[in-house]
């Protein structure tokens, strides 16, 4: 409350040379780093740093769904819980799900249900947990991107990974991957998630104000970015397996890893 007066009335989000406040071009992603297999207890896990976002994802399952009356005799349930740590935002968030988290959990879970071979595991649930440790806009995309790697790390059979990214509009221009300041003072935000191999859109949300051609440009930016993110996801999984293989090799030879 005390620093309200410091909020500038107008922020020049894009300078005359087309650079954004953090120096990025309009079609430039923030730096992304993904690591697979970071937790011991979970069946699969991944950690992502995406700009100033820090997000952990973990997967348990397929495991027996309970309570029992939720079990689907024809397929696995894919359940997602998106959660923000109380200290992940500037004003402490009360623990437990708020309405925003409930909605994101729902649409993210539906996105993953589109790629998991659920028919192979009737009566089970695949439980996906996304924990936002530090937030800077774009946490749902970061979380979905990480959770997708965690699903692969858990060995859950899927048609493909899911890659997620947002584009929006700032200072009247379409831009990729808004950070917090841009999200607060921008005109529109449009997160999406895609199955990279087929281009199928499994998550799509938008609010703000976009003309049709702006929407087209935003989607193109997001699609291109998703392909880059897909490569990072696969790279993270490759590193994970290489490490694991090397460890297995050393262990076999009695070397303490």
């Amino acid at each position: 409350m005390e620093d309200i007066e410091h909020i500038p009335k107008e922020i020049q989000l894009v300078d005359d040379s087309g650079r954004r406040l953090d120096g990025r071009a309009l079609d430039e992603l923030r730096p992304i780093r993904i690591e697979a297999g970071v937790l011991k207890r979970a069946d699969g896990s991944a950690y992502i740093e995406w700009g100033d976002n820090r997000v952990l994802a973990a997967v348990y399952g397929p495991r027996e769904a309970h309570p029992r009356h939720l079990q689907d005799p024809a397929r696995a349930l894919v359940q997602c819980r998106y959660n923000m740590a109380p200290f992940s935002v500037s004003d402490r968030k009360r623990p437990g799900p708020d309405r925003r988290s409930v909605e994101i959990s729902k649409v993210a879970g539906e996105a993953f249900a589109a790629v998991v071979f659920t028919e192979q595991f009737p009566r089970t649930s695949v439980d996906i947990f996304i924990e936002v440790l530090q937030a800077d806009a774009g946490t749902r995309c970061a979380g979905i991107t990480a959770a997708s790697v965690a699903l692969a790390d858990a060995g859950v059979p899927m048609r493909d990974l899911v890659a997620s990214c947002a584009s929006g509009k700032i200072a009247g221009q379409v831009a990729l991957d808004l950070n917090k300041e841009e999200d607060n003072f921008g005109d529109a935000d449009c997160p999406m998630a895609v199955v990279p191999r087929t281009g199928e859109i499994v998550l799509l949300q938008m609010d703000g104000h976009l003309m049709e051609d702006e929407f087209d440009r935003a989607m193109k930016l997001s699609m291109n970015a998703a392909m880059k993110i897909y490569e990072m996801q696969k790279e993270a999984l490759r590193r994970r397996y290489v490490v694991t293989d090397a460890e297995a090799l050393l262990e076999e030879r009695g070397v303490d890893t």
């Binding site: 409350m1 309200i4 909020i7 689907d72 894919v78 309405r99 925003r100 409930v102 909605e103 959990s105 729902k106 649409v107 539906e110 996105a111 249900a113 589109a114 449009c190 199955v195 281009g199 199928e200 859109i201 499994v202 998550l203 799509l204 949300q205 938008m206 609010d207 703000g208 104000h209 976009l210 003309m211 049709e212 929407f215 087209d216 989607m219 699609m223």
Partner: protein, 257 residues
């Protein structure tokens, strides 16, 4: 919804019909059901409307009072949207705290109003930082026969359009609520490879994916929400957007009437 069984035969029947461009109730794929709006339905509310979309029946009330603004928006009114899927409306709705379905519904309707700047929130400031108008939008679903997103959105816009800022709280005359836009949502359901608009209950139950697109009186996109565990191709998204814009125009006329 999953708890209610639609027989496999029924499912196959609908799928087959839709694949051949027909629908169980005789509508065309791009045909929405009859919309009836009764404004000022409730005396105890400052604005209200009963919206019937086919047999889907939604009552929306707007209660208006005065109070303190949020500390981070001292010059804006406050808007809160809730939806109750009361057990009267469907055998699949249960009492208790709102489930993810109700929360998603309320949030999508809310974004369709808030992010589109339908209500000019700055004009709802009475004394900056101290006293503003507070709007509670309550969506009360009475009879559920599919496509709650659109029925609720139409009911909400209608209720806002006839709402009055009550003079008894500030002196002077009752004032109409300042509405700047007329955003209208249109929802499509994808069933196998076909897309139908304004899905009825039986269609909704077997749909693979859902896409809601909100457009304004200029044809601009104001909000989108994809749901369910299927996917859309980019071309399908574009098709839904342009159809939503066209259908939206007809619906807007009914609401403004």
């Amino acid at each position: 919804m999953s708890s209610e069984v639609v027989s496999e035969l029924m499912r196959e029947h609908i799928v087959k019909l839709i694949a051949s461009g027909k629908r169980a109730d005789g509508r065309e794929p791009e045909e929405v059901r009859k919309l009836t709006i009764e404004k000022n339905y409730i005396k105890t509310a400052e604005g209200s409307a009963r919206a019937r979309l086919g047999n889907t029946d939604v009552l929306v009330g707007v209660k208006i009072s005065t109070g303190e603004p949020y500390p981070d928006t001292p010059n804006s009114g406050v808007l809160t949207t809730s939806a109750e899927l009361i057990p009267m409306a469907s055998p699949t709705f249960e009492s208790g705290p709102p489930r993810p379905e109700a929360i998603e519904l309320a949030r999508v309707v809310d974004r369709g109003i808030r992010e589109t700047k339908t209500v000019d929130m700055a004009k709802l400031c009475i004394v900056p930082g101290e006293k503003v108008w507070i709007l509670f939008i309550d969506i009360h679903v009475l009879d559920y026969d599919g496509n709650l997103f659109d029925a609720s959105s139409y009911g909400t816009l209608s209720a806002l359009s006839c709402a009055k800022l009550p003079a008894k709280l500030t002196g002077g005359e009752d004032q109409p609520l300042p509405l700047d836009h007329w955003p209208v949502s249109v929802t499509a359901a994808k069933i196998r490879r076909s897309i139908v608009f304004d899905p009825g209950l039986d269609e909704e139950r077997i749909a693979d994916a859902r896409l809601t697109v909100t457009t304004d009186e200029n044809g601009d996109i104001r909000a989108m929400q994809k749901g369910l565990s299927g996917s859309f191709s980019y071309d399908e998204v574009r098709y839904v957007i342009s159809t939503a814009r066209r259908l939206g125009n007809g619906i807007r006329e009914i609401i403004r009437a």
